[in-house]
Symmetry: C2
Subunit: 342 residues, 2 copies
DNA sequence: CTGAAAGCGCTTACAG
DNA sequence: CTGAAAGCGCTTACAG
């Protein structure tokens, strides 16, 4: 931390702490001459106000914290761009925290740490079953402004930006049905994510609504690792009655499903159709297959708007009522879905 | 910020602020009974110490800041994993800051902000010509511990983790020469990066050392955008004597050079060899071409070791002398370099 | 317009 | 082992 304090500046400018503070904070009520004097002293001493002291008394840090699981995951590409562009529109400093593997203890640590005077607001991305500790803290400590993305937790009064995963999954399955498919399977995503449930429900609903059978083993689960989508696909292809189309819970899973199909010598989409979710710009692990037909969710927009929302709320004098927004998804037709062959 | 303070805890536990502070900080000198009393009060009130107040008096924040340009850039995949894994080995909270487009003012803002009591140490990634403001501040304000990655700035006493870009570029060009190429061109990277110069120098040196002519227009420049590598490649292919091999300053550039060649109907590597640098795990913009032969730099290791280094230095009682480390690169043979056809 | 003083929520000698 | 008091570096009424 810096060695030069406001006291040194005051001394050098022949004035009081209060006056220096006033010019630092642009509060006016200082003669132009004195102001210049102080500014010079600040420049000469290369003074920067101590952030901790300032935060302590102002009860404001001017920081916004963003917490995500596995920041390195290329899934975040568009979301990060949204956060970044949004950040530029505010005067806040934005700090990203990565929770490796979504480790529950780490996430709670970050939530508590940031909440206790490190930031003014927190954006929490993602819906994970293991987040309950962090969420409990949130529910009981309304100390900072919160925005939750993708996570609709009941009884927590904070802003929520949600994606219509259920509707999206329904649209995806209906899209496959419109292509003549009836033997449609589903590969679930990370079992720790709530969106995995939503998309699974959307799949099941839509199959039922259309009078299609959800055959045994047509619902395959994966581990938390995307690459387990590969084995899930293999299991589907090994079935006595393999599906003609597979709806995957996300593009990362789908990318591994595609690899599995191609490795079996199948042609996509002639032999099998594969559909993802997210319309993720960058896929994991040097994916080289065909472009994946998918449900796009507006990640860039969500990132951008979460920052804008926070900017407004923080600069509003009084506390604002929490807002909830629901984002729709839509089909992006690419190369992995075709008409049913048989 | 939290409403419950150490004073509330002391009151509830029927003791003094000092005692509460002692148990929070595990300093001993408290009877087991009183300790339990305090712990209960803390639990009952769900108290967390105010970070700002604590930092102010301890002159320590327990945070480490990492500043990079364009956090969303998939270039950072391995580096981030290194940072993340390294962070887990320390007790520090790690905060990532993204400087959009490497904007000089933003970077200086982050450096100053973090330095003035937000973190105990900063990792600054990258070598950019526009960083001088940030670096000047660094040079004049030894307030936090610094680690610079890829940036060998003279007269700044901080830890430096450097990559042998010059040697790596030489090895790359020699690798192409061993494949019989003599008409070797170079596409430069981001003109704002110092590594671009190093790699260019490595190219020129090695051409000269091997008695090869650096023909006019064999050195192509790009803008700060990776995709400009596409036009650079087109210009090379339009030359009356196009090169048989192209060494690109980085894989992202190379990925666009490959696209340009493929779009011309050229076969890689039969018709033209292309070599990159970085051995980047994830390439920009849904790259689907062949795997790029490249010089690998140990980004994961660098990320990991930068955190480990900081962990040691911060926990050491007294200030440590700065260390410098140089990382070597090595050829990773993939699919884009072959023997010279003509 | 200006400054002395109180106070933000902690920790740390210091005295007992 | 325990607590009263000073102080970290700021800002903010308050009085002038």
């Amino acid at each position: 931390m810096s060695n030069v304090t406001i006291r040194d500046v005051a001394r050098r400018a022949n004035t009081s702490l209060a006056t220096v503070s006033r010019v630092i904070n642009d509060q006016g009520n200082v003669t132009e001459e004195l102001r210049r004097e102080v500014l010079n002293a600040i420049r000469d001493l290369d003074y920067s106000p101590n952030h901790a002291a300032r935060s302590l008394v102002k009860r404001r840090t001017n920081n916004i914290g963003i917490i995500v699981n596995n920041l390195h995951d290329p899934f975040f590409y568009d979301l990060l761009r949204g956060f970044e562009d949004g950040a530029q529109q505010t005067s806040y400093d934005v700090l990203f925290c990565s929770v490796v593997n979504g480790e529950a203890a780490t996430k709670e640590k970050y939530v508590r740490h940031l909440s206790s005077g490190v930031v003014d607001a927190i954006i929490l991305y993602g819906s994970y079953l293991t987040d309950e500790g962090a969420v409990r803290y949130l529910r009981e400590n309304r100390t900072v402004e919160y925005v939750m993305i993708e996570n609709d937790i009941p009884n927590v009064s904070c802003c929520k930006l949600l994606v219509d995963n259920l509707g999206g999954a329904q649209d995806a399955v209906e899209y496959l049905i419109r292509h003549g498919h009836t033997k449609i399977a589903h590969i679930c995503g990370n079992p720790n994510k709530k969106v995995t449930m939503d998309r699974l429900n959307g799949y099941v609903n839509t199959m039922c609504k259309n009078g299609l059978e959800v055959r045994e083993n047509y619902i395959q689960h994966t581990s938390v690792k995307y690459c387990s989508g590969y084995e899930s696909m293999q299991r589907l292809l090994d079935l006595p009655q393999p599906p003609t189309a597979v709806f995957c819970s996300d593009d990362a899973i789908a990318s591994f499903a595609v690899r599995a199909a191609l490795d079996r010598g199948l042609r996509i989409p002639q032999d099998i159709s594969i559909m993802g979710f997210d319309h993720q710009t960058i896929l994991p692990d040097r994916y080289r297959g065909p472009d994946i037909t998918s449900m796009e969710q507006p990640l860039y927009t969500i990132g951008l708007e979460s920052m804008q929302l926070l900017g407004q709320r923080l600069s509003a004098g009084e506390p604002q009522p929490p807002v909830t927004k629901l984002y729709k998804t839509h089909v992006v037709e690419m190369e992995t879905v075709g008409p049913c062959g048989k």
